[in-house]
Amino acid sequence: MIPKRIDSIRFEVLSPQEIRRMSVSKIITPETYDDDGFPIEAGLMDPKLGVIDPGLRCKTCGGKAGECPGHFGHIELAAPVIHVGYAKLIAKLLSSTCRECGRVLLRDSKKEEFISEIERRKQLGQEYENVVKEVFRITKPIKKCPHCGADQFDIKFEKPTFIYEADHRLTPKDVRERLERIPTDDLLVFGLDPKAVRPEWMVLTVLPVPPVTVRPSIILETGQRSEDDLTHKLVDIIRINQRFIENKEAGAPQLILEDLWELLQYHVTTYLDNEVSGIPPARHRSGRPLKTIAQRLKGKEGRFRGSLSGKRVNFSARTVISPDPNLSIMEVGVPLAIAKELTVPIYVTPNNIEEAREYILRTEHPRANYVIRNDGRRIRVLDLNAEEIAEKLEPGWIVERQLKDGDIVLFNRQPSLHRMSIMAHYVKVLPYKTFRLNPAVCPPYNADFDGDEMNLHVPQSLEAQAEAKILMAIQEHILSPRFGGPIIGGIHDHISGLYLLTRGEKKFTKEEVIYLTRRLDIDEIPEPKYDGLWTGKQIFSMILPEISLEYKAEICQGCEECKKENCEHDAYVIIKKGELLKGTIDEKSVGAFKGIIIDEIMRKFGPEETRKFIDNMTQLSIRAIMNAGFSFGISDEEIPDEAIQQIREVLDEAERKVDELIEQYREENLEPMPGRSIEETLEMKIMQVLGRARDRAGNIASRYLGMDNSAVIMAVSGARGSMLNLTQMAACIGQQSVRGERIKRGYTYTNRTLSHFKPGELGSRARGFIRSSYKEGLNPIEFFFHSIGGREGLVDTAVRTSQSGYLQRRLINALQDLKVDYDGTVREQTSNMVIQFKYGEDGVDPMKSFRGKAVDVRRIMREVLGEEFEEELEVKE
């Protein structure tokens, strides 16, 4: 087939003649099928409109079901009705044209001015809607036609299809007659193309009937036919149409005819759009609103977004994900059941025909599911016919073999917000029913294992497979284009594990070293630092490539003066030539989003080496954490009695202070802060006092928890949680808030939050301060306030996700046609218009930048000059 290019598309309005011309049948009866189950002629299922029942032939083209695309019919409406989609435009046209002569209410010179402005903008490819709007705006209040001098009245539009002229309702017939009078030359001023539309066509006199293939009826298990919603609606229209004709012929009173006319209008309106405001939607017998034309097209599941922009695909799978730290980050564990279903095509050539034959003859997992013959016929490979197929196999056939280890697949988690949401992995077929992935690749997918599901796609063509391997592979996405730093790196246990391993001068025996390094990709173990004992730092150094770095770790306390290599917290990391000399490895070294070491390896050695490092790092860290033993329980939140006593004193004092402040406020002795009322001042001061009390209580608790507490280890190393979380568990939860204020809503009349308090009470407990810790447990009042604060958090996240999702959609739709050209300019794809003369005004690819900057001068200097540069720097500093 020769591919054809669409040069342009023009939208027009169907004229009545056009509708009749393309119609193959005039539909007059609302019946669909006769008693024998055959479609009735001139009915809605007229065989001329195409066929859906197998066996029958189309009376127009002779095609069978599936071959015949269907053909349009038409209904002659007994009275004209307004098309809902154009109702507003019709009203605007009426109010801008003369009610007598039909010309625009503008002098000719003015009209020409507008037309030439529209032409000019069209030529420049700009929007001209504003000009048209201006025309409507200035012609609306004109009271006298400048051409024939006829008086004009106000036109009012009422949703959905009613048009009034000075309180008098215009019938669609009147409307149509007036629109007919608008001269073709005047259409240009409304931005209408005279070749595409005559305004009277917006009032329907003939209704096209879509082919049956568009509205197929389905046969239920009971043998009953169930018609499509559109057919139902068309039945209604024909019924009313016939009733109208009969009544008119019988000479029925005007009132009855008008009622029927309105009913016809209602049915045609809801046939086109069943969600217009102002009228009740047409419903199915069951009460479900009908899905009519507009509903088929509109929205997320509509034809555009649901069927054209996005579709369901073959060669894909979806299931729950779970972690497997023994996989490489570039692998994905695929359940056997899925691997047996998904296939990769082998294009048979003389060179691989034997290999293909083997797959056909196999009876176990990586076997062939289907073969596709030269003539395009697809044959299922069964034990029965395997030998026969293998015999007949010849070059040119395609053998679809099952997914096996080492195949490349695309792995995806929704919402696909950035390009790291779809990455290429290598298959590892595993038992059980979940996809398995290394937890280090969770951050780019934003995945966790609380029931998340992910999708997997198998690229079919060799081109697609090559592209996936080269462009979409995990290691190509370690650095994020968002901020130029690593997005894949250690999480949770990886960080805790390396922290435990490298902190201080821990010593390990040979057995331990062998255990820790068992899965690593290394060949030799260095000389032990102590007699037969290795340090944790030495073990970590084994997986480090030759890099040199110096930085402050996450655990850095921010001392007033940094003692650098003599840091007493072991928080100053020094790596020289791939040897960790000082400092502890934590989130800042290897964590996703931070990972300075990962960043450095990426820059110096590239993706492959970095991938190896991350693989080694995850393997080493989980063994390190298992070797050390790491657990957390309620008892870890325990603090000694003296600490509890101190916390109680701090909180008591704070409460006393709050009471004092309230006392001052009651006696009107409180000095208001600048720009605040006395009440606001009081609130702020109370919040301040209570906030400080919570912090102090937290400090007391953390002093007693100590650095060997596992929760503290997780918090300071950045593995999980924060010190705030910890102090809330151990010491005091603190103030609960709604919209940043203390909780004050409750009983309005007595002005208190709960009936347990005195009217108007302002004390800390009455406004949602929680003294207890999570470990102690909350009293009922505290619990109530806590649930109020907690609910606000939930609502906030729910609102934020929906809002940011829509924002993202709008942004993507607006930016999708932009590209960076080879000359560095940002242009629109089709028109080649320049958007930016240099991408980001500096032409820097954020992924290849160093934390947003084009070059990291310091790093290059150090690289080139080595130690000298460091010394020189030190002298200067």
């Binding site: 218009m833 003369f837 005004e841």
Partner: protein
């Protein structure tokens, strides 16, 4: 009331009108047609101030957080 110069305001970047030769040179170096440039309206206050006519090209020089200084050209429409 005396009229102030818009360009004196700190938030208004420097606009300047290009001569015909300059414009031609710029379009050649950028390998662009006039129509592919971003647009500025003739009735834009700043365009009025520098006396731009339809079809002229304006050079805008502004501070940029990423590159220090950025130069943009606009076609007057």
């Amino acid at each position: 009331m005396s009229k102030i110069r818009l360009q004196d305001h700190i938030l208004v970047p420097k606009h300047e009108l290009l001569s015909e030769e300059e414009a031609k040179k710029i379009l050649e170096t950028l390998r662009l047609n006039k129509e592919q440039l971003p647009k500025i309206k003739v009735d834009d206050p700043i365009a009025k101030e520098i006396g731009a006519k339809v079809g002229d090209i304006v050079r805008v020089e502004r501070e940029s957080p990423t590159s220090g200084k950025s130069i943009v050209y606009r076609l007057v429409v």
